[in-house]
């Protein structure tokens, strides 16, 4: 008999008791967003891969301190983002690596959203270049908020900053980007 998939809170409870099978489920559920979060911060695939791995190892060790009922995703991403930031800091020069725009639509072969259809290749290139010129702290907020689709609260938790700081950094970033987008 095949059992019903376990809900996330139950997986977390089991993982906290040392159940690696339950933790495996959590890793599979979040490895994609964890890797992309690490990548937009570290700007290097190998560093991002390692930051995601180390993040999941540290999260496993810290599970005992995870507060029951709290959202798991931002808690995990905070650990991963911290690993990625450390690598970016120690690598120094790697932080300047640019994200590459895909030649065609969204990755994964999905149909482009109405927003994507409205953005020409030239606009995409110009906007990406403008994002790259933002100060690091604003660029991180923009990448997590808009590229990865995290909520404002999740961005705050992931970057370990108050939500008000997310708002102000977002506002400043948009102000700068508007100059090159308009």
């Amino acid at each position: 008999m095949v059992g019903r998939p376990l809900e996330e809170p139950e997986l977390i409870r089991r993982a906290q008791r040392g159940d690696t099978h339950a933790y495996e489920e959590l890793v599979h559920a979040y490895q994609g967003i964890a890797f992309r979060t690490a990548y937009v911060i570290a700007r290097n695939a190998a560093d991002a891969e390692e930051a995601a791995q180390d993040g999941f190892i540290k999260a496993w060790r810290a599970l005992g301190r995870f507060r029951e009922g709290a959202p798991f995703r931002p808690w995990l991403l905070r650990i991963v983002a911290n690993e990625a930031s450390n690598r970016r800091r120690s690598a120094g020069r790697r932080a300047s690596l640019a994200l590459r725009a895909a030649a065609e639509g969204p990755s994964g072969g999905a149909a482009p959203s109405p927003e994507a259809a409205l953005l020409s290749a030239e606009q995409r290139t110009a906007l990406l270049a403008a994002v790259e010129t933002l100060p690091e702290e604003q660029r991180d907020v923009v990448a997590l908020r808009y590229f990865l689709g995290l909520s404002e609260a999740e961005v705050a938790e992931t970057l370990a900053i108050p939500q008000g700081t997310v708002k102000s950094r977002t506002a400043r970033a948009l102000e700068r980007l508007r100059e090159s987008y308009d």
Binding site: V27, E50, A91, A101
Partner: protein, 216 residues
């Protein structure tokens, strides 16, 4: 949401991310290893101390022991058995994309990455040189056994550096089982939590010049 914000969302959809790795495949063995190694390390330490005190000649067998970041160096009277193997031994398959950042004037012939270690094979002054970066909590990631005739000297680089030259030494690491190979001249240094390592047939001055180009 403003038009600019919608454009940013659209930009995010069009970004090309590197292929997401199978994280669990890398994490799972490390979870198992962390449960396994403490017991092994304690047992080995107890055994080593026991031998050192029980057998008088063994007291002088270990001459020096020290760490640089992730690498420990042990000077011993007799080297453990090892043979010459390619630089790439234990580094895993070649990676299609750069795993370390190098200045444009340096040419890498191959890149490698495995958890805790990023590396590149370089051509420098016509010789093959292995460059490696070891990151994270990798205490004891690799161990060097150095014979009495291997020269060890300090190198002024990063927070602390060391240059090993002369007679080959034995590099030992754990990868499923214990692996060894003979290593030649090596420059190791620690800087901002990262352990750097250069290995190749270069003298100290040449190694320092190369290190300066890479980590400047």
């Amino acid at each position: 949401m403003t038009e600019l914000e919608r454009a940013l969302v659209a930009l995010g959809e069009g970004l090309e991310y590197p292929g997401a790795p199978d994280v669990w495949a890398q994490v799972e063995p490390r979870l198992r290893r962390r449960r396994f190694w403490p017991a092994v390390v304690v047992a080995a330490a107890v055994l080593a101390v026991g031998i050192a005190f029980a057998v008088p000649p063994a007291r002088s067998a270990i001459l020096k022991f020290f760490h640089i970041g992730s690498v420990s160096v042990e000077q011993v009277q007799t080297l453990p058995p090892a043979q010459t193997r390619p630089f790439s031994t234990g580094l895993g398959p070649k990676r299609p994309q750069p795993t370390v950042q190098l200045p444009a004037r340096l040419t890498a012939t191959a890149y490698y990455a495995r958890p805790g270690l990023h590396a590149a094979l370089l051509r420098y002054r016509g010789k093959q040189v292995l460059y490696a970066e070891l990151r994270g909590d990798q205490m004891g990631f690799a161990k060097k056994f150095v014979g009495p005739t291997t020269h060890i000297e300090e190198a002024r680089l990063g927070e602390f550096g060391m240059f090993l030259s002369g007679a080959p030494h034995v590099l030992m690491w754990e990868q499923g089982n214990v692996q060894t190979r003979l290593a030649g001249n090596v420059l190791i240094w620690l800087d901002r939590g990262v352990t750097y390592r250069l290995e190749g047939d270069l003298d100290k001055r040449q190694m320092l010049a190369l290190a300066g180009q890479i980590t400047r």
